[in-house]
């Protein structure tokens, strides 16, 4: 059986990579994706914790439920966020976040 | 219920024999499916032709039976053009993705309840590659990923028509996936499981015959609405007529695979037909009792067990007869041969009852699948294509709400039934 620890370390690494992507990439869509990556990393640790609990524990499944909620929220976020991105791209003719640094045009 | 993980570990802990067996199974299935695909095209062309009072392919081989082979060769030997300025990786990835996923979905479909009577190095040979508890979920997961093949293909080939086709089709698939999933929930509720075998067993027909199937649902509740939703959205999901907008020849030349030539094009082609088969199988399993025969298991109905041979024998004889008076010498040689084989099989089933009993389940399953395939072709032959807005309206405003309502009602009924 795989030790829970491994999953946690993996999720830590993935999260860090997500952060790195957030910092390094300039394309707003990619940045958005890196956010999703971080969410996924967190989900992983959620599930890892949940499965590390004994079956007798009443809260065993909570972790997985949280994951479901996270996914749902991520979906909503993607819908709205991408809408915003489309709008911004339309107005500023650029997807580079470094070029979009003014509150108004 | 011992879940996927234990399933997995157990399978992994199996010896090499198991691996070999599975490998062979996979190869076999691939071979069969690809052949069926090939002849499905032939079948389609024939049927459509006859619907339009044409003859259809009849040059290559008797009744054009070698047409598929000819097409295959053509695909293989044609020059493989890669348009300028395409994103190579994605351009190559797309067809692979499409084909792989559609083939992979076959892995979880069971073709019969009991294993072959003879073991293979001590491993019993089930009529499925794998049968996880969440077969249905896996199927949907794979279908969900199926979008990418089309979308990426459209985008990668760096051209207008494909892009539009890709956008269209991905939008269409995403939209209809919801309806597809929702319409199945009713069945899942009644079976109380995601396992395909469970679902089939739940619609047991031994007592009431086909009344036990979910489509009639005498055991719990009729899923006819669910079936309609499912089948329509399945057609849309597979980009077939009347929902074949991604490859609307008249508008987009050939849609997302305009820029694809030779074998890559063939991959898309195969993927499409394979998914047709998968969907038909799914329809059968979910709503039409899978491998259950439409007749009760009462002794009175035992004669129905001879239906396979009863269908095979006359067909074989007819093929022989037809072959004898075929115009080309080649045909006069080949066709009777095939007829003889078919007749032989039919006879063999009569002679060996065990084999006959064993063949029942696959027979019914494949029979139903064949019917649905025929339905596909039929639809293609008759229905015109929808307009894009109509398509979206049907998906979002008709199918989705209806299937949701169906879910609610079914849930209510199931609740009432389960209440002591």
């Amino acid at each position: 059986m795989v030790p829970t620890q491994y999953y946690l370390v993996l999720s830590a690494i993935l999260f860090g990579l997500g952060v790195a992507a957030f910092v390094f990439r300039r394309n707003v869509i990619t940045i958005f994706m890196s956010i999703e990556l971080m969410l996924n990393a967190v989900n992983l640790s959620f599930v890892a914790f949940s499965q590390s609990m004994p079956a007798t524990n009443a809260h065993k499944l909570d972790g997985q439920l949280f994951v479901l909620f996270v996914i749902v929220v991520a979906a909503a976020e993607a819908a709205v966020g991408l809408g915003i991105i489309i709008l911004t791209a339309r107005n500023r003719q650029s997807l580079n976040v470094e070029r979009v640094d003014l509150l108004k045009l | 219920m011992n879940g996927f993980i234990s399933h997995l570990t157990s399978t992994l802990s199996e010896g090499t024999g198991f691996w070999v067996l599975t490998f062979i199974k996979i190869l076999l299935l691939l071979f069969i499916v690809l052949t069926v695909n090939a002849y499905l095209t032939w079948f389609e062309r024939k049927v459509v032709a006859h619907m339009q009072s044409r003859i259809g392919p009849h040059r290559v081989g008797p009744h054009g039976l070698l047409q598929p082979a000819a097409d295959g060769l053509k695909f293989l030997f044609k020059e493989d053009v890669m348009p300028a300025g395409v994103d190579k990786f994605v351009y190559l990835l797309a067809p692979f993705l499409a084909l792989t996923l559609s083939l992979a979905s076959l892995a979880v479909i069971p073709f019969g309840p009991q294993p072959l009577p003879f073991p293979f190095f001590g491993h019993q040979i089930n009529l499925w590659i794998t049968n996880p508890d969440i077969g249905l979920l896996i199927l949907f997961a794979i279908t969900a990923l199926g979008v990418y093949g089309v979308a990426l293909a459209g985008w990668a080939s760096n051209s207008k028509y494909p892009l539009l086709g890709g956008l269209r089709s991905s939008a269409q698939m995403v939209s209809y996936e919801l309806a597809l999933t929702m319409s199945v929930v009713g069945v899942v509720l009644m079976a109380n499981s995601f396992s395909l075998t469970d679902i089939i067993n739940q619609q047991d027909s031994s007592k009431y015959g086909f009344l036990g199937w979910n489509i009639i649902g005498i055991h719990s509740f009729t899923q006819v609405v669910g079936f309609l939703c499912f089948f329509i959205s399945a057609i849309a999901e597979t980009n077939r007529v009347p929902f074949d907008l991604p490859e609307a020849e008249s508008e987009l030349v050939a849609g997302f695979h305009t820029e694809y030539s030779s074998f890559k094009f063939a991959m898309f082609f195969i993927a499409e037909y394979t998914s047709m088969i998968t969907v038909s199988a799914l329809c059968t399993i979910l709503f039409f009792g899978g491998w259950h025969s439409p007749f009760p298991a009462a002794p009175f109905w035992h004669f129905t067990h001879y239906l396979p041979s009863v269908t095979l024998l006359p067909f074989g004889l007819w093929v022989i007869y037809d072959g004898i008076k075929y115009e080309t010498i080649w045909g006069r040689l080949v066709l009777p041969l095939i007829g003889a084989v078919i007749t032989a099989i039919g006879a063999a089933l009569l002679i060996f009852p065990a084999a006959n009993e064993f063949i029942q389940a696959p027979f019914w399953l494949l029979g139903k699948v064949f019917f649905f395939l025929f339905f596909y072709v039929w639809a293609r032959g008759t229905l015109p294509r929808f307009r894009y807005d109509q398509l979206m309206n049907i998906g979002w405003k008709l199918l989705l709400p209806v299937s949701i309502v169906n879910v609610i009602i079914t849930a209510g009924v199931v609740l009432l039934r389960t209440k002591p």
Binding site: F22, V23, I31, V97, E98 | -
Partner: protein, 669 residues
């Protein structure tokens, strides 16, 4: 109890004026005077009727039981058990003392309201005036009905506020607004003492509720604090008395009252003669038990009262402003009341309070009527001979003058007489008695001086410009009523003279029972006491007569004389005329240093340097920091992201520190 509808809802009595005041204050701006005074009068009138009914119920149902009526309406301050269940409730009580006060306040107040409708008819801010006046009524009633010191203090401060507002009613007039401030500030000094007193009491008895507190004092035997012993009671008493001095304008805090005459005359009548200024007396009487426990306190009260009485009377002699004279006479009469309290004759004090309320209110109103007739003229030297032109005013005012001068059988005679008697009859009270007597003489003198100057002699005003006219009945009515009261007001105590018993004292006995005992303890046996009483009465009357005679001689016979006297006794006259330079003294000793400190220290250093410096410094600091930090807000998402990462790092380090420290150790090794 169904048969005590009002008593059960005692809060109605104060609430009505409050409502009136609120309504007028909030909506009165646009209303015509009719509506305004309808509201105000109905409020006070109803409150008066309610008071009467309440008193009836009290006397019929409660008084016979020897109890006092007390009801807790709601918790105002209640700290749970955690803070020792300290409770200050909105509790009202009614006992004999309250009865007197409530009747005086509502009754006189109502009359004065009526009067004011006439007097203020042509003034601006009509609605404002009545709203203030009703507000005053509310607070005054709270003051007299309160069942604990804190609630009493609420009323106490409230009437202070109302008086401030009303003194400064003509706020455009600088003198008026100054007078208002002066009154307020001087009162603060007294109130400070009052608060300290309350704190001391609470510290000692852990309650400020009258019944509980006095019950403790009465039941547990506290050491009786003799002369010069400064125990709890002495200190507390003296502190409370300080407050009383402030409110009731006793030495040395009387200075605000004369200036308070800047307010409209009804105000002077109601607040600065009849009711508010007597609050101090009320408080002393209310807490008489405390005072009885301390000789020192009593003596101080008596001496201060006595001194004030004489002092103010002397000043009153030479004032020419009619209202100023009355003001000083008020001060001196209040002195009388305190004298009474000081000698332990609380009921006599309260008695004088009541009668004084009648005739002094009358005097003021009449004076107001005179001023009204003279078209705003207040200087007596510019009046004279008004006797014929304004008969009613003259008649009523004359009655009041007789009353205050102490001519039998008018109210003032009895009250003053009983005071002097009790002053005489306590051991070592003779000096007090004689001073009091002298004061009585002076009182008669200056009051008749006032009357003679105003109503007799030739008119000293320009008849062509000033059209003397009698006031409307809305003003005369109250005068008449009050005149009647000032005549009969004292008869309750009359029988005492011919051996009967003093009904008023008897009525108040449940409250002051023990107090009177102290007073009467000194008295010799009945017969001697009675003869003494007669003798003293005669003396008093004679003194008054003497005073009148002197006034007659000086101001009617030889009108030149006063001027000559003034010239011959120049220093004395100037001293008196300038009120002993007390104001100047205060200005020099208190006001100017205070102003200097506020100006040079508090303003120039503390405020400008310290406070403004701090505030501006903070502002500048913020701007400076902002200038630096602003550059991080580049709008560049990536740098934001980087910053977020920095923050996350910090958080992680903090959270996982215990785990990470050993690793860091490993790394460094």
């Amino acid at each position: 109890m169904p048969n005590q509808p009002i008593l059960e809802h005692l809060w109605i009595i104060p609430l009505l004026p409050l409502l009136g005041g609120a309504i007028n204050g909030l909506f009165g701006t646009k209303w015509p005077n009719k509506i305004v005074n309808t509201v105000a009068l109905s409020a006070t009138g109803l409150s008066f009727l309610a008071a009467v009914e309440a008193v009836r119920e009290f006397i019929t149902y409660v008084a016979p039981t020897g109890q006092i009526f007390r009801k807790e309406f709601f918790d105002w301050i209640f700290t749970g058990a955690s803070a020792g269940n300290f409770r200050i409730g909105f509790d009202l009580q009614m006992d004999q003392l309250t009865v007197v006060m409530v009747l005086v306040v509502t009754g006189v107040g109502f009359l004065i309201h009526i009067y004011a409708t006439g007097y203020m008819a042509h003034e601006g801010g009509y609605y404002r005036f009545f709203s203030y006046l009703n507000l005053f009524m509310f607070f005054m009633l709270i003051l007299v009905l309160a069942a604990n010191y804190v609630l009493l203090f609420v009323g106490w401060e409230g009437v202070g506020l109302a008086s401030y507002l009303l003194i400064g009613f003509y706020f455009l007039k600088k003198s008026a607004s100054d007078a208002g401030k002066k009154a307020f500030i001087v009162n603060r000094i007294g109130d400070f003492g009052f608060m300290l007193g309350m704190f001391l009491l609470f510290r000692t008895f852990h309650t400020l509720d009258f019944s509980q507190l006095f019950h403790q004092v009465a039941t547990q035997d506290w050491p009786h604090e003799g002369w010069g012993v400064f125990g709890t009671f002495t200190v507390a008493g003296l502190l409370l008395f300080t407050g009383a001095c402030g409110k009731s304008a006793q030495l040395p805090l009387y200075v605000w009252l004369p200036d308070a005459m800047e307010g409209p005359t009804p105000v002077s009548a109601l607040i600065h003669a009849a009711t508010m200024v007597t609050a101090g007396v009320y408080v002393v009487a209310r807490s008489h038990i405390l005072f009885q426990h301390s000789e020192t306190a009593l003596v101080v009260v008596a001496i201060v009262g006595c001194a004030t009485a004489f002092f103010a009377a002397t000043i009153g002699l030479v004032q020419t402003d009619i209202k100023k004279v009355l003001a000083y006479s008020t001060v001196s009469q209040l002195g009388y009341m305190f004298l009474a309290c000081g000698v332990g004759a609380f009921s006599a004090g309260i008695f004088h309070l009541m009668t004084h309320a009648f005739f002094k209110a009358l005097l003021f109103l009449a004076a107001g009527s005179v001023i009204h007739a003279m078209g705003g003229e207040q200087d007596m030297l510019r009046m004279g001979g008004l006797r014929k032109s304004i008969k009613y005013t003259f008649a009523t005012m004359f009655i009041a003058t007789l009353a205050i001068a102490g001519i039998p059988p008018l109210a003032g005679f009895f009250s003053k007489d009983s005071i002097l008697l009790s002053a005489y009859s306590i051991p070592g009270g003779h000096p007090l008695y004689f001073v009091g007597l002298l004061t009585a003489l002076l009182t008669a003198l200056y009051m008749f001086r006032l009357v003679f100057l105003t109503f007799w002699g030739k008119p000293r005003y320009d008849e062509h410009h000033v059209h003397v006219h009698e006031s409307p009945w809305s003003m005369l009515g109250p005068l008449v009523v009050l005149a009647v009261l000032s005549v009969v007001g004292g008869w309750l105590a009359a029988p005492a003279l011919w051996g009967g018993k003093d009904y008023f004292t008897e009525f108040l006995a449940p409250v002051f029972g023990s107090g009177e005992a102290a007073g009467a303890a000194a008295a010799i046996d009945e017969a001697a006491a009675h003869s003494l009483e007669i003798a003293l009465a005669i003396v008093a009357v004679l003194t008054a007569a003497l005073g009148i005679a002197v006034a007659y001689w000086l101001y009617l016979r030889q009108p030149k004389k006063p001027a000559e006297l003034a010239k011959s006794l120049q220093p004395v006259y100037r001293t008196l005329y300038n009120k002993y330079w007390v104001d100047e003294l205060y200005a020099a000793t208190v006001v100017r240093p205070l102003v200097w400190i506020s100006d040079h220290v508090l303003w120039k250093i503390v405020d400008v340097e310290a406070i403004d410096g701090t505030v501006n410094g903070i502002a500048h600091g913020a701007t400076a920091i902002g200038d630096r930090v602003r550059h991080t807000q580049s709008g560049n998402t990536r740098s934001y992201a980087a910053w977020v990462v920095v923050g996350a790092l910090v958080v992680i380090v903090i959270v996982f520190w215990p785990t990470l420290r050993p690793m860091i150790g490993m790394v460094t090794k």
